[in-house]
């Protein structure tokens, strides 16, 4: 039985190889040979398709359909940084254990996280940028002439501006309900109407309003300069609800002496 359009006919293989070198075919042969492909042809196709990655070790994804393969690069942070260094091509056998001590400009550092965003674990683009700077530190190169760790400190203190990304951060692991119930403010749009703060059931008529939650603070962070501030509807919605309930209760029981009704200021 061979039903049509069977997705199991297509195999995906991940390989790590050096582009453009002759010895690459002997690395490919044990993995590709059993699948029916010619390693020499696969090596030539990789060298042709990945011309600008010549001499670098990259991870390649091969989608194999019955002896024909399509080639894609799986980008990794270290390969993108080494590519950005634009080192001259070297003979791997003669020069071993070289130091990557070049210089990368900050603009290139901004380009790389945008390509790697879908694989990043960070919530915002600044987090991804810091991840790439960490990889740059492992590689051993400099960014704009100074050590990558210095740039990370500058970003944290807000001295350096980073562009914000347009898309929302990738949903990672935690389902929406758990995100909502955690106590950290989340910037994603919220559809649930449960309040973050539980409404106290015990009201003291003559008491002060100290038990009511304070309005959420206006957050000013390094990413707020020059960018659209995301409205923290979650916290404000809950705060407004709690105050509204309090006002209803006050209306029902009459205003106590000495307590003025708070003004609702909405940001």
């Amino acid at each position: 039985m061979r039903p049509k359009c069977d997705p199991n006919e297509i195999k995906v293989v991940y390989l790590r190889c050096t582009v453009g070198e002759v010895s690459a075919t002997s690395a490919l042969a044990p993995k590709i040979g059993p699948l029916g492909l010619s390693p020499k042809k696969a090596g030539d196709d990789i060298a042709k398709a990945m011309g600008d990655w010549k001499g670098l070790r990259i991870t390649v994804k091969l989608t194999i359909q019955n002896r024909q393969a399509q080639i894609e690069v799986v980008p990794s942070a270290s390969t993108l940084i080494i590519k950005a260094l634009k080192e001259p091509p070297r003979d791997r056998k003669k020069q071993e254990n070289i130091q990557h001590s070049g210089n990368v400009t900050f603009d290139e550092i901004i380009n790389i996280p945008q390509q790697m965003r879908h694989r990043s674990l960070a919530k915002e683009l600044t987090g991804t940028i810091k991840e790439i700077l960490g990889t740059a530190q492992s590689v051993g190169c400099n960014v704009d002439g100074c050590h990558p760790h210095g740039i990370t400190d500058d970003i944290n203190s807000g001295a350096v501006e980073c562009p914000a990304c347009d898309e929302s951060p990738p949903q990672r692991g935690l389902p929406r309900e758990l995100l909502w119930h955690s106590h950290l403010p989340k910037a994603c749009s919220v559809t649930s109407s449960q309040p973050l703060v539980s409404i106290p059931t015990h009201h003291c008529p003559g008491g002060s309003t100290d038990w009511l939650p304070q309005p959420p603070p206006l957050k000013k962070g390094p990413d707020s300069s020059g960018t659209k501030r995301r409205p923290m509807r979650a916290q404000w919605t809950s705060w407004i609800q709690v105050w509204q309930d309090h006002l209803l209760w006050r209306k029902a029981s009459g205003p106590p002496v000495g307590v003025s009704s708070p003004t609702q200021d909405e940001n």
Binding site: M1, K4, C5, P7, P30, N66, R67
Partner: protein, 440 residues
């Protein structure tokens, strides 16, 4: 006023050029297609992109009514139109299937449903779809034995296997068919005959699409991946296109998206899979011309035949090849002999003193020039032998075409298969020749 620059002359010139291309003839006015469209509309499927048509090369197919861009949806068939094992179990056959022990296979369930619905005729709910299905198929299991004799050896073996499998399938299901007697007025032996079951089996084999397997309790543990899709199965195969076809769980419909462009009034193709011609013929009963996946298989006996028999280590070499999986799937393709075939030949030609380097040979390294040359010579001899054999078979086929007029359709199919193999072998021979001149 210059001649030939106006609108009329442009239209006339265009007509001259286009008329050389054969166009499809729209067949959506035929009664069976109108019935099918009404039946699909009742099940909430309406489509304005495609229309059934008859094309000169590929026969019946679907023609696009608009121009389709990359990534656009060709067709989206709702779940209510698909014929799956769920449909069978929810029908009148469900009770009998659930009762029968050992549990019948999903394939048996689908075939039984098809045969009984075909027998029901006008009373069947699926009548419009069954009218569209072909009355006869061209799979090797349906061909005459003398035609099957003319097929390539590897394909002939698989065709015999297929025939045995269908006969065994029929024999083992006869008891189940007898249990269905209460449903029918006539004797079940006359309804569920071998030819009826063969028709149903070929329908499922050639027209089913892949659906994610779901396990039904009343059916056996065989993977249940087949679903019949009316209207969608009119699409023909082309190896040069890529499509994304899958069942969408959110919209509960089977969707096909194209990754190529289609002009208006062009036939729309999908890709059944990256199959070579022998597999296409075995499973679907047709042959694709200029198929990039097509190849000619080299069996072990042929390999050994052309090697020097006085080599004492031949058995050892063959067992090494078997262990590493280099004895199957050795082919000649459009770009010459495959890498695996050349590597296997290099290992088999290894001289006795160099035998310890067999691992390097399997990794593709060059041992010596004489080794390379010998392996290329043997590959060329095998290629020429195959070309001679193909020519002999083509002569036999044309001979039989003159003798037996009734089998002409089947013989034309076999002839096209052999012609494609001949073209591949000739291309391989040229590549081998250029490889050899590089060594001398």
């Amino acid at each position: 006023m210059q001649k030939g620059k106006g609108r009329t002359s442009r239209i006339r010139r265009r007509k001259l050029c286009r008329s050389s291309e054969p166009r499809g003839v729209n067949e959506s006015h035929k009664s069976e297609f109108i019935e099918l469209r009404k039946w699909l509309k009742a099940r909430k499927f309406q489509d304005s992109n495609l229309a059934p048509a008859c094309f000169p090369g590929t026969g019946r197919g679907l023609m696009s009514q608009t121009s389709l861009q990359e990534g656009e949806m060709i067709i989206s068939l709702p779940e209510s139109c698909l014929l799956t094992t769920d449909t069978v179990i929810q029908s009148y056959l469900g009770a009998y299937i659930t009762k029968w022990k050992p549990p019948p296979s999903p394939l048996l369930a689908l075939c039984t449903f098809l045969v009984s619905e075909k027998h029901a005729g006008d009373r069947s709910l699926w009548k419009p779809y069954l009218e569209i299905l072909p009355k006869a198929y061209t799979c090797p299991v349906c061909l005459e034995p003398e035609v099957v004799n003319l097929l390539p050896k590897s394909l002939k073996a698989k065709a015999e296997e297929q025939r045995a499998h269908v006969q065994e399938f029929f024999a083992s299901s006869r008891d189940f068919f007898s249990s269905l007697q209460p449903l029918f007025v006539e004797a079940v032996d006359s309804i569920f005959s071998y030819s009826a079951l063969l028709w149903a089996w070929c329908t499922v084999n050639t027209r089913a699409v892949y659906l994610r397997p779901r396990q039904q309790e009343c059916l056996s543990a065989e993977p249940d991946t087949c679903a019949l899709a009316p209207y969608l199965d009119l699409l023909n195969h082309s190896p040069h296109v890529q499509v994304k076809a899958a069942f969408n769980e959110e919209t509960h419909s089977y969707e096909i998206r194209t990754t190529s462009r289609w002009r208006k009034h062009e036939e729309v193709f999908i890709c059944y899979g990256p199959h070579d011609n022998q597999r296409l013929f075995l499973e679907y009963g047709f042959v694709s011309v200029r198929n990039p996946h097509a190849c000619v298989y080299v069996s072990r006996e042929i390999l050994v035949k052309y090697l020097p028999s006085r080599d004492k280590q031949m058995d050892k070499k063959i067992s090494i090849l078997k262990d590493h999986g280099y004895i199957e799937n050795l082919t000649f393709g459009w770009d010459g002999p495959s890498w695996r075939l050349l590597t296997a030949l290099k290992l088999l030609c290894l001289e006795a003193e160099k035998f310890t380097c067999w691992k390097k040979v399997l990794l593709g390294e060059v041992i010596s020039d004489t080794n390379e040359k010998t392996s290329l010579d043997i590959a060329q001899k095998i290629c020429y032998y195959f070309i001679e054999e193909t020519n002999v078979m083509l002569q036999k086929v044309s001979h039989m075409k003159d003798e037996k007029e009734a089998l002409i359709n089947q013989l034309t199919l076999v002839e096209s298969l052999w012609m494609e193999e001949l073209k591949i072998l000739r291309a391989s021979a040229e590549t081998l020749h250029s490889l050899q001149t590089a060594f001398t």
